[in-house]
């Protein structure tokens, strides 16, 4: 149908809504980052690039950025590995496969606070299931506090967040798998290719576009994770799990340094936008090369 006036009429409500609720606040965030507002609701004055100089000159931002990168990479590795195995299994035919494909996403549809309670309880030193199981298996001697040390807190958070997200990633991979023509596998089988060969020569290369797409979307999604971290460790112990979103929240709503938080926000968005831009460009380039 070609009726530009009507089309714009259809698009306008959603567009105006997004401009008002996302676009305008985005502009405000930039404005705030050039002022010195402390507590929410108070007035500030223009101070130019002072906030940027302070944030980039201090160590908090860089440390949080490092943790965010670690967080994104660790989550990507764990989730991709587990999700690929799960997707390959769900790609098979077996009784109940449709039920399995639907309900696998259970961990993703419950509120984060439920995920938090599940794991706080299972990992707790009194009554939790995980410590006794690990002791029985001979892996540890005494119950361990999973959120007690810097390294274990980060590792545990990555594993819990991956538990929440791997089914989502697996479904996306499954969608990519179903797109691979089945006659390729038939032909390979007739030629006597082993299962491993079929995986490395057909599945893996043809899954690349899906993996690239997931790499971009997944990076943005895990970068933004806030509630799991906040509710389980609040960024601790001693800032070991304070990623950029946690730093922004703490600076604005615990430290009452609104402009400084806005500055970190703007820097974070620039980083993510740059990443998204480069990644999508690389993706289109590799698609054209195909």
């Amino acid at each position: 149908m070609t009726n530009p006036r009507l089309a714009l009429l259809f698009v306008a409500p959603a567009l105006l809504f997004l401009i008002a609720v996302l676009g305008w606040p985005l502009v405000q965030a930039v404005i705030l980052s050039f002022q010195n507002v402390g507590v929410i609701g108070t007035e500030g004055e223009w101070i130019g690039f002072d906030n940027y100089a302070a944030v980039l000159g201090g160590s908090n931002f860089w440390r949080a950025l490092g943790r965010s990168l670690l967080w994104v990479v660790a989550n990507a590795i764990v989730q991709t590995a587990v999700a690929l195995g799960v997707a390959l299994i769900l790609h098979q035919k077996f009784p109940g496969v449709r039920v399995a494909r639907t309900w696998i996403i259970l961990t993703w549809i419950v509120p984060t606070v439920v995920v938090v309670i599940i794991w706080r309880w299972l990992l707790s030193t009194s009554g939790g299931m995980v410590n006794p199981l690990l002791i029985q298996a001979g892996i540890i001697q005494r119950p361990i506090g999973f959120f007690a040390t810097r390294e274990s807190a980060m590792t545990t958070l990555v594993l819990i967040n991956s538990w929440r997200w791997f089914p989502f990633v697996a479904l996306m991979m499954l969608a990519g798998l179903t797109r691979i023509p089945s006659d390729l596998y038939e032909a390979a089988r007739i030629d006597g290719a082993t299962a491993w060969k079929r995986f490395t020569r057909i599945t893996w290369p043809l899954l690349q576009p899906t993996l690239m797409m997931l790499g971009v979307v997944g990076t943005l999604l895990s970068f933004n994770v806030f509630d799991v971290i906040w509710l389980l460790t609040a960024g601790g112990p001693s800032q070991a799990t304070q990623t950029l979103p946690v730093l922004i929240y703490e600076t604005a709503f615990k430290g009452y340094r609104l402009s400084e938080a806005a500055t970190v926000s703007v820097l974070t968005s620039l980083l993510l936008m740059g990443f998204a831009l480069l990644a999508t460009r690389a993706m289109t380039a590799s698609e054209e090369a195909r």
Binding site: T2, F10, P111, M172, L258, A261
Partner: protein, 275 residues
């Protein structure tokens, strides 16, 4: 094709691991919610409850604000869902079935909105809402939820709209049906699975939203489950029975919803992703 015995064994072993990995934690929580306190914290964890009690649910519903959180969450999620569909349907229709100048650019703009870190707009949105007296209202959460669900919802409707044959629309146009009728009476029923996907996505996103709900809502009676419930965690000296009962009650609504439209949702999620 037939599987060899080792292949079958590997497949079912893998399936068993998945079921345990996802099912076991939920089973422990749900079965834990009906155990007596001493069994919950016993040194030797039990797989099957050895005791039965509803005391945790009673305490949760009678001496905490959990019922209010539940109602608030349902209200916020339902209103967010209805408005998101109302906004996403015409927009997606225009984007994927009509031609107009600036279409590609506008579509890209909407996708960019999806990629943005939500925490970035948290601070200015607080300021904006304060100016319009929206702080501490459930409406503020509905507005925010719509804004965050909308880009993804438009994107998700794409594959569903693409699957409707052009002739159906063209026949309606020839018959002189106005665009409103075409959209609501002809297209909407045909892409019902797509609308269901959007509905469940928005519902879940609103149901689980924590960050904005924690900042925009001030009074306890207006809190949604994620924030209200998180407050209960800190309030009581770790009463696991209470928390497990709450986790169970917070899970049930999405599970019921998913039992009806889960299949469509998974299709919507995966179809859009590969096209």
């Amino acid at each position: 094709m037939k599987r060899t015995l080792p292949q079958s064994l590997a497949l079912y072993a893998g399936l068993a691991v998945i079921v345990l990995l996802i099912g076991l934690p939920f089973w422990w929580v749900m079965s834990g919610s009906i155990k007596l306190p001493r069994e919950i914290i016993s040194r030797v964890p039990t797989m099957v409850p050895q005791s039965f009690t509803l005391q945790h649910f009673e305490k949760l519903l009678q001496s905490t604000d959990f019922p209010a959180y539940l109602v608030n969450s349902l209200l916020v999620a339902l209103f967010s869902t209805v408005f998101t569909i109302a906004l996403a349907l015409p927009t997606a229709y225009a984007f994927f079935r009509m031609k107009f100048p600036g279409r590609a650019a506008l579509y890209r703009l909407i996708l960019v909105a999806y990629a943005f870190p939500t925490v970035v707009v948290l601070i200015p949105i607080y300021g904006l809402f304060a100016r319009f007296g929206l702080i501490d209202t459930r409406a503020s959460l509905v507005i925010v939820n719509i804004a965050f669900a909308l880009p993804f919802s438009i994107w998700m409707m794409r594959s569903f709209l693409a699957s409707v044959p052009r002739d159906i629309e063209e026949a309606a146009i020839v018959d002189g049906a106005p665009p409103r009728v075409i959209l609501l009476r002809i297209m909407a029923p045909l892409i019902a699975p797509g609308i269901a996907s959007v509905a469940i996505f928005t519902f879940i996103a609103s149901w689980t939203e924590y960050l904005f709900a924690s900042v925009l809502i001030v009074s306890d009676a207006r809190r949604t489950i994620p924030v209200g419930f998180a407050g209960i965690i800190g309030q009581y000296q770790i009463d696991w029975g209470l928390l497990l009962a709450g986790a169970t009650l917070a899970t049930i609504p999405v599970v019921i919803l998913f039992a009806f439209v889960g299949r469509w949702f998974v299709t919507g999620l995966t179809e859009g992703a590969v096209k």
